[in-house]
């Protein structure tokens, strides 16, 4: 019944799964990096282990590493699990890197049912396919939407159901030229005095 530090949580997880890497972000927030193949076992271990007992999935989110200034550069999609234990009152973060070409991660909904909606959201916005999810479909965008908007290489829609997306033939500045639509040069930056 005592909260464990992130260091101890990392050691306990590493004792069971040597391939898990306890790392820290640039601003010092610790996390556990897991390979997609080991994810379900590690999450089940974190949920059921007596001393860890992460019984709550607080959040499941993700982000795109493309164009992110990191060494070495990566184009993977990161899925982040924020876990919290009501029993021991400690928390941890688990990250898994899904390669962009084959963006597949096993589902966590069999461990925490709260993951059902979170995984639909990550699928909708980032295009990560969660294997084993009972209904993997979009949750915010319309069902017939194309692309996953929070990917860094997402192209904005020209129209939706024949309704143009912008007014009066305007076009997004940062989108590369597409057939039939001229690209607009970015507006010059204002110089601040």
């Amino acid at each position: 019944m005592s909260a464990l530090t992130a260091e101890v949580i990392g050691q306990r997880t590493r004792a069971a799964f040597p391939q898990v890497q306890p790392l820290a972000t640039e601003n010092g927030r610790p996390f556990l990096q897991v390979a997609p193949g080991d994810l379900q076992q590690v999450l089940r271990f974190l949920c059921s282990e007596r001393d860890l007992r992460f019984d709550t999935l607080m959040d499941l989110t993700g982000y795109d590493l493309l164009k992110y200034p990191m060494v070495p550069p990566s184009d993977a999609i990161v899925v982040v699990y924020l876990l919290w234990s009501h029993v021991h009152r400690h928390k941890t973060t688990v990250k898994v890197l899904a390669p962009r070409a084959d963006c597949r991660v096993p589902t966590a909904s069999s461990i925490w049912p709260a993951a059902l909606y979170f995984e639909r959201e990550v699928w909708d916005l980032l295009g990560v396919h969660f294997e084993g999810h009972p209904s993997q479909k979009r949750i915010m965008s319309p069902d017939d939407w194309t692309g996953h908007p929070l990917r860094k290489d997402y192209l904005y829609p020209v129209d939706y159901h024949g309704v143009p997306h912008l007014r009066d033939g305007q076009h997004f500045e940062h989108v590369p030229a597409r057939p039939g639509i001229p690209a607009v040069a970015p507006a010059p930056k204002k110089s601040t005095p």
Binding site: P142, P149, R167, F172
Partner: protein, 209 residues
């Protein structure tokens, strides 16, 4: 004491005809008021613009405030209705995404004629702050439903909404059931103009030199 009202002197009637005030139904004790029917109906519609209880973003807060005790839009005969079948007016208050736009169109189609649409706020007018960098926001609800009154503002003050409603009442009165329906959108002057849209009216009269 008020002076007694004396009837105006009338022209002498033709004695061969029955005087009008002697015909059945027109006697002093059974008079009826006559007016053009469509004018009367327009008067009723103008004074009972029931609006759809529908808001999608922060403009809805200003819409609620306009219905609150300080601005009390109910005094114009405007009562929110929770179903489009009973609503005459749709106030599109807030951001409309591409996903929502189809639903707005469905709600508009469920309203009975004559139906009116007020586009409230920059988001419903043109996408507002989301018009340039958002992938999901529709840039103006007028791409889906015909808009009668545009009210700029982010969000507009309740005064601006009431100003738009007054412009719409005028339009309803002119429409008169079988009359011509104006398709020209009306844009309420924004808060930047001094004294709102009445700046011209409020000018002091020019004085003689």
């Amino acid at each position: 004491m008020a002076e007694p009202i004396t009837p105006a002197p009338q022209a002498p009637r033709d004695p061969t005809q029955t005087p009008g005030n002697q015909k059945p139904g027109n006697r002093q004790d059974e008079q009826v008021q006559l007016a053009a029917v469509d004018e009367f109906l327009a008067w009723g519609k103008e004074n009972s613009l029931f609006y759809l209880l529908f808001a999608t973003a922060c403009c809805g807060i200003e819409l609620m405030q306009a219905g609150g005790p300080r601005y009390d839009i109910d005094r114009l005969g405007m009562i929110p209705r929770a179903t489009p079948r009973q609503a005459d007016l749709m106030i599109v208050a807030g951001t409309i995404t591409h996903k929502m736009a189809g639903r707005v169109r469905t709600l508009w189609e469920q309203m009975t004629e004559p139906r009116w649409v007020v586009s409230m706020g920059s988001c419903a007018n043109s996408g507002g702050p989301f018009s340039k960098w958002s992938y999901s926001v529709l840039n103006g609800i007028d791409k889906y439903v015909p808009v009668d009154i545009y009210i700029p503002g982010c969000p507009p003050r309740p005064e601006a909404l009431i100003d738009g409603v007054m412009a719409l009442r005028e339009r309803v009165r002119i429409y008169r059931t079988f009359g011509h329906r104006s398709t020209t959108p009306h844009i309420v002057a924004g808060a930047d103009a001094p004294f709102g849209s009445h700046a011209e009216k409020d000018k002091p009269p020019e004085q003689a030199p």
